[in-house]
Symmetry: C2
Subunit: 330 residues, 2 copies
């Protein structure tokens, strides 16, 4: 019999819960709304209830003694040693919250479930998932980048999660690549996320289409109005050969490439695993990102540089949370 764990991935809009065994088998997987406005205690109660229900469905079949515990990924700054979540974006009212001890207390008091619980940053658990079960398996050192609403990152060094001094490492989205630019995100000017977060990609696309409105046949492209412009429509248009959509993705890829080049120069990490919803556009981003990464680094650093797509999709987080429970990565 294999050990099993619950992987939980808490996001601003959805909570994902999965039952995963030590070999990476997914025995169950659910996605629920977060109800972010319920505040810390509401969300903790919600996670406890969802987690326990799933645990309860499997404990007889898989064996209570083989249950390795719960791994929980959360957005924001996570002090995994002390179990404290600080200032999660998109989760109002948290500030600094002892998420780990509170969740353990609720599980114990309300459900008599006493188990180990590992709390980690959501981008970090995604990196762990790809490291143990996904596209990062072949790399000793790599950085996982998540392109979505925001731009997140998790760093694996020597097959271990690199957390930094206070647990906030990997925030490539906050690295500045355009310090004199006009884009600002979370109060910081010219960051990668301010330039290629989901909303900024749409803004960039609009700018490019509007600047060339005549070419784009009176503000339409492939039958859509510009007000419908989204990463999805930009992807479709680019795949149909629309030059303005391709130009948009080239610029997105170039900014990503500048950010990756910074990682190469500073950390000498040369392998990148790219996931998150936006990464579905694939080579439209990867190819210009790779070219820009080369252009923005010394030739002596080019050897071994690679960008590969993540392979676990939006389940990387729950996989990584479970992998931490099994101590397949630490």
């Amino acid at each position: 019999m294999s050990r099993w764990a619950l992987g939980v991935d808490l996001g601003g809009t959805a909570v994902k819960v999965a039952v995963i065994d030590e070999k990476g088998g997914v025995l169950d997987h659910e996605r629920h709304p977060t109800h972010a406005d319920a505040g810390p205690e509401g969300i903790i109660g919600h996670i406890a209830s969802l987690g326990f229900a799933m645990y309860d469905r499997f404990r007889d079949r898989l064996g209570e003694k083989l249950f390795a515990g719960i791994g929980l990924g959360a957005p924001g700054a996570v002090d995994s040693r002390r179990g404290i979540l600080s200032y999660p974006p998109n989760l109002p009212g948290w500030e600094q919250y002892p998420l780990k001890s509170r969740l353990q207390r609720v599980l114990a008091d309300d459900y008599s479930l006493h188990c180990s619980l590992i709390l980690e940053n959501d981008a970090n658990i995604a990196a762990c998932g790809e490291a143990v079960f996904g596209a990062g398996r072949e790399f000793d050192d790599f950085m996982m980048i998540t392109l979505g609403t925001g731009v997140g990152g998790g760093i694996i060094l020597n097959r271990r999660l690199y957390r930094g001094s206070c647990g906030t490492a990997g925030e490539i989205g906050y690295m500045t690549v355009d310090y004199r630019g006009k884009s600002v995100h979370a109060g910081v000017r010219g960051t990668v996320e301010s330039l290629i977060g989901k909303k900024s990609i749409v803004t960039l696309g609009l700018e490019i289409y509007r600047a060339k409105a005549l070419q784009a046949s009176s503000e339409e492209f492939h039958g859509r109005q510009l007000c419908d412009l989204s990463p999805r429509t930009l992807e479709k248009a680019a795949k149909h050969g629309d030059p303005l959509a391709i130009e948009t993705w080239n610029k997105v890829g170039a900014v990503l490439g500048v950010g990756l080049a910074g990682v190469v120069s500073l950390m000498d990490i040369r392998k990148f695993v790219i996931g998150g919803g936006i990464s579905a556009v694939g080579e439209l981003i990867f190819s210009p990102a790779f070219e820009q990464m080369k252009a923005s680094t010394l030739p002596s650093m080019h050897e071994g540089m690679d960008i590969v797509p993540a392979s676990l999709g939006n389940r990387a987080g729950v996989f990584g949370a479970a992998a931490l429970c099994f101590a397949l990565i630490e």
Copy 2:
């Protein structure tokens, strides 16, 4: 009796050689011209000769058996495991050279000196020096930044040197902070070094003075012509309250701060030790750098951020090289 080692710091213009004991005592210290045009074998012969002469002067007094070996810092990409130096800037004709094995061979053949030899990047040995004997002693994790002709860096994580996948980590000078800017260094646009390397500081100062030529009393400041503008004269002028010189250092500090903020966001390193010739201006740079580092990072990352001056001056390299020989750091 204490163990002793030779610390050697090979630069484009000078080779420094020192005899250092395990407690950080400097028993001798010399500085010689590099003769960079002599090429790899010429320089290796030169280092062997200088190193052996110093070894020979001390071996009876300090004891051959207590000699821990030679630590050698060199500019460029260093593969310390294989002992290969690649593309050292300011040293023509090297490309990729097996510096370690060649130097050991010359020492053995020409001087009958058989000893262990550690080869490491020059910014990395400076970081090791500050970590073991200098301003980094109090920090588990920090980054040493060297501001001089170029902008270099070495990273200490958990009191060990962080080298990266291929030994080139720490190159903060090549991080891009202004990807659309016009400054270029070593083929890469908008890097920290392109903006605040020694020459760029002078260029920046000239721009600021020329833009405000009237204020600066017809291209003079403190009795000097603008053609004499240098980091040294800019420092003097700023310390005499010259607003344009202060503005220059403020801008230099701000760019440094943006670079440091990238290190904070990506690596969650919050302590910085700043050395190199330019760092002598002290708070003229440190203070704007610290303010900009705060402005370019999330508030949740501000705790514990600190910038301190290096304490070993231009001897950090030979100290670090010796510290590696004693295995006081690895």
